[in-house]
Symmetry: C2
């Protein structure tokens, strides 16, 4: 196919750290425009809104929405209406319900809608999936513990209503889990710890299962200091699988199977180019659904106030 | 078709008030068994568990699950595995995610799974839907205000985590709304009021929309004394539609179109018999999804403690 001309929408940390270098390293996609209310990128046409971009003579085939989830639905609807393919950063929206009209719009127009889950493109995720297809899982224990002060310094929005709190990293674990297990999973119960002065949880425990009764325990913590943990321990009929470093490493009974450097975003863009080439969409709502279910069903407890 | 032999599972208030009389009034379905841990029904074989029923020589074709949502998934899975058609009281589950495996199981086995929304069978709901298919809606205002002390006296479970609180009646409004509007809707924002000593909201405001920008405001209140309100006011290009009394009455520009006695459960069972006859399922998750989204996105505020 010819070069895919991409507009990056929202030029924040994730766009600069990941999207721009990933696109720069690939041969069949290029940045044709940037949309940002105040940031600019040298050498690239910049617009303050999607409306201004689409009214200009700068041609784009696709947009990557790196804006906060609360504004993304309207931007996606606008881009699809203008005939553009759409890539959504994670989470794909502020709610699950808002995705159905976007999915229908993309389908009706023959456009690609790609709800990305970057952690699914970590190098050990597909090997873990293949292993679990051949070796029945017996139990899963997830530890996702990081220091919010290191990874989201001063970002108050993460603790506002709809900001997901500790589920902002936790949803990455759920995106891996729902990819590698052979059966759909559901939530049996949850506990959510809210700082007294905040509207989103800072720690959570999830009790999950699949239809076959597989027991899955997930613990998310945003107050981890010292070593950080993004690990899943999976006991199987074929031995113990350890998926660690957020999906970059895989051990089987202590023997390393995968230990690679992280390269999630180039893989994400290769997938997007392939989807556009085949006029396919990929919108798996399962991880966001599990988070919404945890808020619906979860026991809330109050903790001391949080200060940066 | 031949007589459908039904087991009622969970012999609480809703089963006695609605399910038993509705089935008694229909010619092609009959109560063949009751499953309850402690309640009994004269003249009908009673069992303490679904396992005991299925191990007996009492033959049933279908089960109606009138148990609390938290235990219903496991019962539905068991009944489907035993080859029985399943009717689920509202809400269809404690979480949205748990429905996918049940839907797949019913489909694989050629069985009927029916997630009921009783309010959709109120007499004015289909006339309202037909009107809105022909007259574009311009705005919707929902007032769903009732006295929890009258309708759920002493039922503490309704204010426990997962008990839905004011969304227990509110989801009825959402089930009507998602049925009568011509396009899918999503949540833009929500406010949830929690009594200081309770884990579920006692009042809520929802700000909803559809893809065409239709503005929908819903207000749910569990502390209404005096007259109770279960009303929707819908401004349309063809005048004002008032759907009131929980869907039993419909006025157009002040002129009555429908004013009938409520007969939701007989309609529900006629639908179930039809679905079983055609080996079809009917599982619309939209109302429960909107509630989960409201918990995910909603601003929480604290109110004074609640006492019965």
């Amino acid at each position: 196919m010819s070069m895919l001309r991409l507009a990056i929408v929202g030029l924040g940390k994730i766009a600069r750290d990941q999207h721009l270098p990933a696109v720069a390293g690939l041969p069949d996609i290029a940045i044709a425009a940037v949309v940002s209310r105040n940031a600019r990128l040298d050498g690239v046409p910049c617009f303050e809104s999607l409306e201004a971009l689409f009214a200009s003579d700068v041609a784009v085939d696709a947009v990557a929405l790196c804006t906060p989830p609360q504004v993304r639905r309207a931007q996606a609807a606008l881009a699809l209406a203008a005939g553009k393919h759409v890539m959504l950063e994670k989470p794909p929206g502020a709610t699950v319900s808002e995705l159905a009209p976007l999915i229908a719009s993309a389908r009706d127009k023959g456009l690609t809608l790609f709800a990305t889950w970057h952690s699914r493109h970590a190098p050990a995720v597909e090997p873990a999936r293949a292993f679990l297809a051949a070796n029945r899982p017996l139990s899963v224990k997830i530890d996702w513990r990081e220091d919010v002060r290191v990874w989201h310094p001063g970002q108050d929005w993460i603790f506002e209503a709809g900001g997901l709190g500790v589920f902002d990293p936790g949803i990455n674990a759920l995106s891996i889990l729902t990819r590698i297990l052979p059966r759909p999973i559901f939530l049996r119960g949850a506990g959510l710890a809210f700082p007294a002065d905040r509207a989103a949880p800072i720690a959570a425990e999830l009790d999950l299962a699949d239809e076959a009764g597989l027991s899955i325990r997930a613990e998310f913590d945003f107050l981890q200091t010292g070593p950080q943990s993004w690990d899943m321990r999976i006991e199987t009929e074929g031995g113990t699988l350890m998926l660690s470093a957020g999906g970059a490493k895989l051990d089987h009974d202590g023997r390393p199977l995968v230990d690679e450097a992280e390269a999630e975003y180039p893989a994400l863009y290769r997938r997007f180019v392939d989807l556009v080439g085949g006029r396919e969409s990929d919108v798996d709502l399962a991880p966001l659904q599990l988070v919404a279910d945890a808020f619906l069903l979860g026991q809330r407890r109050s903790m001391e106030a949080f200060t940066w």
